[in-house]
């Protein structure tokens, strides 16, 4: 009886075993990496804005406090986007004829707010509150990164749920003194573990079980 398959089939059969393992591994890698990549998370993606507002200039060079514009951060869930009036506090005097600030002046004249594009977007099913974090010693830069160096704003964290839980499972690693909360240059000291424990006790931060309970963030 004639052979059905050429003798090279033996090699192909064995090779396909390795190829299958390799393909499965590659597929696994793609599945693992895609949801963590900036493609899905928008991490490190610099956002174009209607006005090229520079946090680097305002925070880094001028030293304006975060709370001067984001007034709600200590008292409400939302940190707050400043109204055009806040801009005009200074820009009615400084750079008052600069062409690139015309949209600000136009907004001030017409009373129509500037439409910024949102950089940090959490899903609707997440309940997030800025005030509780800020008042319990979580600094701005812990989540938002070195804003004082960002000419245009970008999202410096993944905002994945696992990223939230990293802190909620071990809040001590980021806790600071109250005075350092808005300090953009804060670095965790060598004895952060010890300080974190003390601060957690001082701020009366709840147990990990409470911090990681579903309904803490999904209400």
């Amino acid at each position: 009886m004639a052979q059905i398959f050429h003798r090279s089939t033996n090699f192909i059969a064995r090779f396909s075993l390795f190829a299958a393992i390799l393909a499965a591994g590659l597929a696994g890698l793609v599945i693992y990496a895609t949801p963590r990549s900036p493609y899905k998370t928008n991490q490190n993606v610099v956002r174009e804005q209607p006005i090229q507002f520079s946090h680097k200039h305002h925070v880094g060079d001028d030293g304006i406090d975060c709370r001067y514009c984001h007034t709600g951060v200590e008292t409400s869930a939302f940190a707050g986007i400043p109204p055009t009036k806040t801009c005009m506090n200074c820009h009615s005097v400084l750079f008052k004829d600069a062409a690139y600030l015309e949209p600000v002046r136009e907004s001030y004249r017409s009373g129509k707010p500037l439409q910024w594009s949102r950089v940090h977007r959490l899903p609707d099913f997440v309940y997030f509150n800025h005030s509780i974090h800020v008042n319990k010693g979580v600094g701005c830069s812990s989540c938002h990164g070195p804003v004082n160096q960002m000419a245009l704003m970008w999202q410096s964290s993944t905002l994945l749920m696992s990223w939230c839980l990293d802190c909620h499972r071990n809040p001590g690693q980021v806790l600071r003194e109250k005075k350092d909360v808005v300090n953009m240059d804060w670095k965790a000291p060598a004895n952060q573990a010890e300080i974190g424990r003390a601060l957690a006790a001082q701020y009366k931060i709840r147990t990990t079980a409470e911090l990681t309970s579903c309904s803490t963030c999904h209400r």
């Binding site: 009886m1 059905i4 398959f5 033996n10 059969a13 693992y32 949801p35 963590r36 993944t158 994945l160 749920m161 696992s162 990223w163 939230c164 839980l165 990293d166």
Partner: protein, 459 residues
Amino acid sequence: MSATNDTSSLRRVAPVVEPGHTFGTVTEKISSIVLSRPAGAGWFFGISIAFGLVMMLGMCVAYLIARGTGIWGLNIPVAWGFAIVNFVWWIGIGHAGTLISAILLLLNQKWRTSINRFAEAMTLFAVACAGLFPLIHTGRPWYAAYFMMPYPNTMGIWPQFRSPLIWDVFAVSTYFTVSLLFWFVGLLPDLATLRDRATSRPQQMIYGLLAMGWRGSARHWHRYQMAYLLLAGLATPLVVSVHTVVSFDFAVAVVPGWHTTIFPPYFVAGAIYSGFAMVVTLAIPLRKFYGLEDFITMRHLENMAKVMLATGLIVAYGYCMEFFMAFYSGNKYDSFLAMNRMHGPYAAFYWALILCNIVIPQLLWLHRARTNVALLFVMSLVINVGMWLERFVIVVMSLHRDFMPSAWGNYRPTIWDVGTFAGTIGLFVMLIFLFVRTLPAISIAEMRELVAHTSEEQK
């Protein structure tokens, strides 16, 4: 065989394979169904109906995904309806395949040989139908893996390992994998037979690829038998474990009617009961239409009838114990449930269940009933209906009247519930039809072995 010879003066026991067969006739008879016999109008008629039902299944699932589970009859308090009922029913049916292929193999029961192949195929198809329901029951199938599979996800959390629902994922997927392997390993020598007997190039290629280079050398056979036995050993605990875990889905909850320790054994017995009923449902038309009465003899049908009788009695014992414990425990919710089953809004389902699962199968005590093929076929259908009703009674009747009367409600399946269920029956039938025409429905290699043994014994 001496034991059967002794009783032959009382009653002739049918042989496991009719005498007069040789290796050649066995091979010819079984492989011709696949290779040379034309499909016939009956086959096309059957598969077109089944295919129509599959199309309906596709429509039901598509509409479910578009609109969500609101199209089903589910609501609080009956949040588990047809999807779970059908899941448990299908997965139970699958159990006969593994029992026949693994446990009866290890127990050296020769009568398993001619029914194990299609019983295993039936297992795979039934588990496939069963698996569809957990996948779609949220209306968002893409979440099934997302919520249930333990993998390093971006949420930084794992599924709840203390929940029986996650054990279910492992139990069912292990079961499917082992059953598939067992079936495929068993098929290897037969695939090689088909490859060698095939006349057209595509058939040679396809069966040749599937046969994975089987040449039938002594070494091949040695390894084959070792692998087959090992897989049988692996599959044996699965016969018991899968439906035990499925029963935990209920037994671990505190709902009256679910929270009972008798559930695991009684679920396993029920699974084997319904599984054998389905094997009989398939075996009788198969042997008739393809003239396989020589291989699937009255001995097989009678033995399966006996298994159905035995497991049916265990199931009946389970019902009695549930009823007894409801009153013996003094728990008012349990005793209310027992009364509600008999007199509540779904009492008709309960009494139909008792009729189908306990009363009618008592006919199987009679030798005349066990050897009456038409009656046996009807009986197997009745038991399948009864086992479906059992799951309906457990799921719906336990939920619709729980602790607080203010939380009571009724359940009524919609046309989409019924359509999805009928669709899976169509899928099952279609797969069986395709299987019968593309793979040997009876194991050729094992039948040859059986013919060799029986002809030796006759000498």
